[in-house]
Symmetry: C2
Subunit: 321 residues, 2 copies
Amino acid sequence: MKGLWLENQKLRLRGDLPVPEPPLHEALVKVVRAGICSTDLELVKGYYSYTGVPGHEFVGVVERGPGELVGQRVVGEINAACGACAPCRSGRRTHCANRTVLGIVGRDGAFAEYLTLPVENLHPVPAQVSTDAATFTEPLAAALEIQEQVRVGPDDRVLVVGDGKLGQLVGQTLRLTGCDLLVAGRHPDKLEHLSRRGVRTGVGGEVEVEVGGFDLAVECTGNVEGFAQARRGLRPRGTLVLKSTYAGRLSVDASALVVDEITVIGSRCGPFAPALRLLAAGEVEVRPLISARYPLEEGPEGFDKAAEKEVLKVLLDIGDE
Amino acid sequence: MKGLWLENQKLRLRGDLPVPEPPLHEALVKVVRAGICSTDLELVKGYYSYTGVPGHEFVGVVERGPGELVGQRVVGEINAACGACAPCRSGRRTHCANRTVLGIVGRDGAFAEYLTLPVENLHPVPAQVSTDAATFTEPLAAALEIQEQVRVGPDDRVLVVGDGKLGQLVGQTLRLTGCDLLVAGRHPDKLEHLSRRGVRTGVGGEVEVEVGGFDLAVECTGNVEGFAQARRGLRPRGTLVLKSTYAGRLSVDASALVVDEITVIGSRCGPFAPALRLLAAGEVEVRPLISARYPLEEGPEGFDKAAEKEVLKVLLDIGDE
């Protein structure tokens, strides 16, 4: 089969990949569409060591698996858990000590014609959700993880720092809580998507991010300036959610965290079912976030495009439904 | 009156300080006993800029104030709040934007014959609590702040890193939750105080701090090694409480916090009433923590003693009850 192959920080199209054979309890999924995520770009930069097919945001059709799933459009949770380790037995399967992660850790991903995943990871896509929209299920679930971890009330003043792919989804989901929301970014055209949905936005230095004026700040940039802006915005006893990974180590004024009794929470993968519900209800709009689309064969060009500053989501068209 | 005076990182005894005149709503307190805290040592090192009388752990007798308090033994909360700013109006008075802090920020402290504090900050000391024991009310309240911020259940595996003054009180209070507790330290003689009360302890490299084996870790050392040990001990989605301030900035692997979805919480001043209740009930033993006592006149020597590695609490005898 065809697929993108990452090795030694080089991404290339291969036509000689074997169609994977699903192990016990896994399904064979024919990939229809996939999205390029910032993590994929970081894999290519070598921030994480990975050799294989990248890609973890996808929609596919089950080709082999349980009867009720065969022929269904599905999305899939990316962490494949062992079910036996302490985190698994405590219900924290996304933190399985022995996990593989689709297209990220020890498991070939979605930028190929076929993939396999445990059957328990698959979620059928409701008919009213388009394949393009369903491709956003995984990052939308990651945005919703915030509300799994932190109570966000309608009275809360919330700052989202970052107008990229993740900031867009975080802004849209937090807006639904009724909270007093500000999304701060650097790109007026990106922020425009949010302000059209009634979200208050502000650009760079122009935005008067009130120092200490927010109960909750969500850092979606993965850079030190974004962290600093989120931290500055927090009131004493406020909560700072880290949604992005950082290249290298972060230097933190830990004494100020103690004096102000700040809570910092790392946040990663989230729940798929509510993400699909919100997409089905049309409460989250993802179409404006699609900047470009490429066939699988032009995947490396798609990666180049996704790395451009003004670009949001790049989709890869991989197979027919 | 006599008092210790800190100026330009020099601590000296002065005999020419005026007895303070209590402003409206404040009481004049004759200081009986006071304790030297790590923060006091850091003030002398110049980590914080402060000129005046240091000292914030004390027991005194009210000399002028509301009738029902005059003649009473009291302890006092150290943050004097304005009552009008946003944090005060939200009930976060220890985070008052305009606060002064006894012996730390803009308010002369307890290492002198007299101090003043707002009447609302004072708590009468129950008869069954000795003056020595009551001097520990403030740091004991700080230890209890952890349980104001984080639910600690009997089923939780909890690691306390540090066997100093704060680690001793944190270990004793967390022990009362029934949690599965380990206090890791570097000083067998200090850990002995805890193991005599049934707390499991471990020394330095000897202690097999199970990597990823704890739900909650409390960092009580204020140094980078302590932070690293606490972080290593945490399971995914675990909570790291920072109880100590750090000289300089802390370098953190923020991506690992995101991937493991760790919560980091800064923790400072806590509630006095439960601290006094536990002291009155004899549930926290502080006597073994008193390493030495000095008269006020030998306060600078007391500071030198308090800075020694093997020493826990140094008390200053300041006045009669």
